[in-house]
């Protein structure tokens, strides 16, 4: 049985206002960050407007691990705020409110703050860990529409240690092998693969797609350059030019 009245009573007095020395009020509500700190939300009168604001605390918290320092990040932030009716006033996130609409405005505001704090998911290490996912998605979903036979984890000689991430086999006399390169290990495996295919007297086209070539050691980067036919220094570059290259070479 749902004890509706007990539940309703338990929600009373969960939100209160505490006065602060600067004349504003802190909104004490059961909204917490992942680390257990309360969401810093305040209520103030400003130029005859009643406003919910954060006095810059949201961006302050985000800056522990992530800075909004590029046009792209600013655009993402602006979208979050715009879609939740929140303004950015030099880092202080504000939304107008009134005594009658305060509760609804508060819920909308705390949702915006939470989404902004989650922007740290755009941190380099999170994005970097998605490289193979985005790479695979492009080959299978996008190149897969253009080419009839796209194989995953392809072993041309059936030997388990010589494997290409993807193979395009529309023209069997001119197979295309595509390998994603993130670490030195990926680079050395790709180099070994290319050298092995040369010995097989095949006429393959080998393509290396880098996440970040500067992350590789010079030794492994140079060995790959000498072994592979074509390199793209980023996934974006491969997406822009890879299909055209493949079409030209399997014709």
């Amino acid at each position: 049985m749902i004890e509706a009245q007990t539940i309703a009573r338990s929600m009373q007095d969960k939100i209160r206002l505490e006065p602060l020395p600067n004349g504003s009020y802190q909104v004490i509500a059961p909204f917490f960050h992942e680390d257990g700190d309360i969401l810093d939300i305040f209520l103030r009168e400003h130029e005859d407007r009643l406003q919910i604001c954060d006095f810059g605390t949201t961006l302050m918290r985000l800056s522990y691990s992530f800075d909004i320092n590029t046009e792209n990040k600013n655009n993402i932030l602006s979208k979050i705020l715009l879609n939740n009716g929140v303004e950015d006033s030099a880092g202080n996130f504000i939304t107008d409110t009134s005594a009658n609409t305060f509760f609804d405005d508060l819920l909308r505001y705390q949702m915006a703050i939470t989404k902004v704090c989650n922007m740290e998911i755009l941190r380099k290490e999170y994005v970097a860990s998605m490289f193979f996912e985005y790479f695979g998605s492009f080959v299978i979903d996008d190149l897969g529409k253009q080419f009839k036979r796209v194989e995953r984890n392809f072993k041309p000689t059936k030997e388990p240690w010589f494997e290409a991430d993807y193979a395009i086999l529309d023209n069997t006399s001119s197979p295309v092998y595509i390998m994603g390169i993130k670490t030195d290990l990926h680079a050395s495996r790709a180099s070994a693969f290319c050298l092995r295919m040369e010995k097989e007297s095949q006429n393959p086209i080998s393509i290396a797609v880098h996440e970040n070539p500067d992350a590789l050691s010079k030794r492994d980067r140079d060995a790959l350059t000498n072994a592979v036919h074509k390199q793209y220094t980023s996934l974006d570059d491969f997406k822009a030019k890879g299909q055209e290259f493949i079409i030209k070479n399997i014709a």
Binding site: L20, N22, I28, F32, E34, D35, G36, D37, I38, D40, F55, G56, T57, L59, M60, R61, S63, Y64, S65, D67, I68, N69, A90, G91, N92, E125, S129
Partner: protein
């Protein structure tokens, strides 16, 4: 739940490898925040760290000074000296308070994906940003901090004379 590994990371002697700016400066993206950052390494060279310092100018009791440990595939905040604010723990207990507090991870959180949930304990080590910074630099055994913060002890002693 232990904190031995985290405590060892916190307390291992460190040297500064990339100095902070000479003083806190206004965050270019946020008019309400003063900030500064620096890097340091354990004396044995094994562990690399970043330190961030943030201070809210609108609400001076809101500040944060954190030690970030750099692992191979991620950076983790292992401890954070916080200003006065409401907090409720989630991992070790359900303690809730409104005071100055220090966040610190449990060892298992370094590898089990829960490092964003970082419990805290109340502290009476500091009540100002400068006092928190002094406590942090000493607790974290940053050996050469006086080179980068030459006026810090003087500012703290002035507060004591002033009765704060």
């Amino acid at each position: 739940m232990t904190k031995d590994t985290v405590t060892a990371l916190l307390c291992c002697p460190k040297v500064i490898t990339s100095k902070p700016k000479k003083s806190m400066y206004q965050d270019p993206r946020n008019n309400s925040v003063m900030r500064n950052d620096f890097s340091c390494t354990s004396l044995d060279g094994i562990h690399k760290f970043e330190v961030f310092m943030r201070h809210n100018t609108e609400l001076p009791t809101l500040f944060s000074i954190g030690l970030v440990c750099q692992f191979e595939d991620k950076n983790i905040i292992v401890c954070r000296y916080n200003g006065k604010d409401y907090h409720k723990n989630k991992i070790g207990n359900q303690d809730a308070f409104n005071s100055y507090h220090i966040h610190m991870l449990y060892d298992h959180q370094l590898t089990d994906g829960t490092s964003n949930s970082i419990d805290a304990i109340e502290t009476d080590k500091y009540i100002t940003f400068d006092q928190a910074l002094h406590a942090f630099l000493n607790d974290c055994q940053i050996q050469d901090w006086k080179d980068c913060f030459p006026d810090l002890e003087h500012r703290i002693s002035q507060l004591r004379l002033g009765g704060v």
